[in-house]
């Protein structure tokens, strides 16, 4: 049964001009090791490019990574645009050094997982799996 289990498809994206890409790369490897199908946009993406890719690839999750403080602007924009395009069931999570003061707005916009440095990977993986099962696959 487990072998036929559907794989989670996840888009890892880097919005904006921020070039700190190590976190995104590492994230891709961690998610792959966790058995997910990972698609990586590479650097220098606009919100629109990311949303287009997410819809075209029919992913379950968009994981955003930026070490610039444009996180609030980009992450909320991606979440909003996904909803507008009828893809609000795609789970959006974000990583980076995210200011405490930005967190409420991000959560309210639907960026449900926010991961700073030192977060145990499992915490993020558990959150993603749980949300995908509920919102995308309608299990439970």
């Amino acid at each position: 049964m487990d072998k036929d289990k559907r794989k989670i498809r996840i888009l890892v994206a880097k919005p904006g001009t921020d070039s700190h890409y190590k976190g995104a790369e590492l994230l891709c490897q961690i998610l792959r090791n966790a058995g997910m199908e990972v698609i990586y946009t590479g650097r220098y993406q606009t919100s629109e490019m990311i949303v287009n890719a997410a819809i075209a690839e029919d992913v379950d999750v968009v994981a955003l990574s930026s070490l610039a403080w444009s996180q609030k602007a980009y992450y909320t924009e991606v979440a909003r645009m996904l909803k507008e395009r009828g893809a609000g069931d795609i789970c959006v999570v974000g990583g980076g050094i995210i200011a405490e003061s930005d967190k409420p707005a991000l959560l309210a916009a639907g960026v449900t997982g926010l991961y700073g440095p030192g977060t145990p990977y499992q915490e993020m993986i558990d959150h993603i799996v749980q949300r995908v099962k509920k919102d995308r696959w309608h299990e439970n």
Partner: protein, 529 residues
């Protein structure tokens, strides 16, 4: 007696104790000498800090040229002795503030410098005729800076400062819209040639291993990259034969990290001086010893700073600063303790300047030159690092040199493996980090003040200024200068006289950058995931 085996951070086996036996092969005159004399192991200058202490130079800038100007004035008043300018991430990419791509990131990680007007604003009222400036960019902004200096009546022949222009840093930062390594090398060498003529006291290149080091390379790998990159530049000029090599390398400058292993970092800087001397003198036969002086800016290593218990970073920074001082650095940047959390607050900026001033004025370590020279341990480490660095340089040269190794993806693969290797050692506890993997609190014991830039406002201000600037400039002159620049980029000519003309008639950094990159096309990320 033999206790458990110890290793330096770079893996050099460390003995229980060092004795004269460990330095018996050292020939004092040949391997050490006094400071200011070949091979410069003990220091590039005769008087070192007794004559003048290192330059206190923090890389900084944020929001807008106007606000950064206030910051630079403040730093100067606090006793900083050199300016160091970080363009923001949008400028680093090479796009202007009114580009739709950079809507949310103006003034982040630095200040936007789109035009000569921005450079003028950023340096308004600052004594750039007396104090040297470091510009973290690769040439065009320096051309704007020169034009501003000229306008202020400063003789470019006397102007002092440094342009980053380093291949290693740029490539590992993986900045979008940049040319491939051969293009980067071409414009870098163009810039050095041009500066050697118009601004001979300016350091036209700062070979910089700080970023790769921060990604997990060790001390001799860091030096190996540094010198392999410098050799690439010299080889390119040798091939061209436009400028005599002594003039070409005379103002080469360097930039390294100061990492955690205290004595190894000191030995690293000492070894670097001896290696550079040998490269310039033995390999290239350059006779003037002034060309063989390894002059270095050292910055405390950001990757050692932690987001947990940020005040611990103050202590790390102070030790790293001390290592840079005992190694004999010419210029030092003690980081802000809050670097792992945010851009520095006013308070952390003050503390970082004070860290250097306390080292300079209170500790007494500046009383004599190279105080650790002759230490059995430090000399032995210096020798070990030198030897391992030569091997590393050779390995890179066997791949066709640094630019080729980048082009082939070797560098990026290395930079992918190293951070993971280091992280695994941190996870396993092999590398202890206090407050993170050892003595860690369940809950953070305290919070520190956070600084936040204001990208939305900065974008508005900057885009509007740029619109007016574009309107104001003489369109015919601008078009003509851009045409000539594009032609130069497409030829073998040195592009910088044309860059200089273009920025003077209002070409923006984005326009110049595009002209330069278009010839080669954007360098895609060289390896797959």
């Amino acid at each position: 007696m033999q206790t458990e085996q110890h290793f330096s951070a770079s893996g050099i086996p460390i003995k229980d104790i060092y004795t004269p036996e460990d330095t018996k092969d050292l020939d004092y005159d040949k391997d050490l000498g006094i400071a200011g004399e070949p091979p410069f192991t003990r220091g590039p200058y005769t008087t070192m800090y007794r004559g003048q202490v290192w330059t206190i130079r923090r890389l900084s800038g944020f929001n807008t040229p106007e606000e950064s100007n206030k910051l630079y004035r403040q730093e100067y008043e606090l006793g900083q002795t050199g300016f160091s300018v970080a363009p923001d991430i949008t400028t680093s990419v090479g796009v202007d503030a009114d580009d739709p791509m950079v809507e949310y990131e103006i003034g982040h990680s630095g200040l936007p410098l789109n035009s000569i007007e921005d450079v003028e604003t950023a340096f308004e009222g600052l004594p750039i005729d007396k104090v040297s400036t470091y510009l973290a960019e690769r040439g065009p902004i320096t051309a704007m800076y020169f034009a501003v200096a000229e306008k202020r009546g400063i003789d470019l022949k006397q102007l002092r400062g440094t342009t980053a222009g380093c291949m290693l840093s740029w490539a590992c930062l993986n900045i979008p819209l940049q040319p491939p390594p051969r293009g980067y090398l071409r414009y870098g060498v163009d810039f050095i040639e041009w500066c050697s003529e118009v601004a001979p006291r300016w350091n036209p290149i700062n070979h910089d291993s700080y970023n790769p080091r921060d990604l997990g390379l060790n001390a001799f790998e860091e030096l190996g990259l540094l010198f392999a990159a410098a050799i690439d530049f010299i080889e390119e000029e040798k091939r061209r034969g436009r400028v005599p090599l002594d003039r070409f390398v005379r103002r080469f400058s360097f930039n390294t990290a100061a990492h955690n292993d205290f004595f190894e970092e000191i030995a690293k800087i000492r070894a670097a001086r001896r290696i550079w001397y040998k490269i310039v003198t033995d390999r290239y036969g350059i006779q003037d010893p002034n060309c063989a002086k390894f002059r270095v800016h050292v910055q405390s290593s950001g990757s050692t700073h932690t987001a947990q218990e940020p005040y611990n970073n103050l202590i790390r920074i102070a030790y790293q600063t001390l290592a840079a001082v005992l190694g004999g650095a010419q210029s030092i940047h003690a980081n802000g303790y809050d670097e792992a959390v945010c851009l520095p607050t006013d308070q952390s900026m003050l503390l970082s300047i004070r860290t250097e001033q306390i080292a300079a004025l209170e500790t007494g370590v500046t009383n004599t030159i190279d105080p650790l020279g002759g230490s059995y341990y430090v000399e032995s480490l210096t020798n070990e690092l030198e030897e391992r660095t030569w091997e590393y340089i050779k390995m890179i040269e066997d791949m066709g040199g640094m630019a080729q190794a980048m082009q082939d993806g070797w560098y990026h693969r290395l930079l992918r493996e190293k951070p993971i290797e280091r992280q695994q050692k941190v996870d396993s506890g092999e590398i202890p980090i206090v407050g993170v993997n050892t003595f860690r609190f369940e809950k953070e014991p305290y919070k520190v003040p956070i600084f936040k830039p204001d990208p939305a406002t900065s974008r508005e201000i900057q885009a509007e200024k740029l619109r007016k600037f574009r309107e104001k400039r003489d369109k015919a002159k601008h078009a003509e200068a851009m045409k000539r620049l594009v032609e130069a980029c497409n030829s073998d000519e040195n592009v910088y006289p044309y860059v200089f003309e273009a920025v003077k008639v209002g070409a923006t950094f984005g326009e110049v950058s595009k002209a330069q990159v278009d010839v080669y096309g954007e360098w895609p990320y060289p390896i797959g995931l």
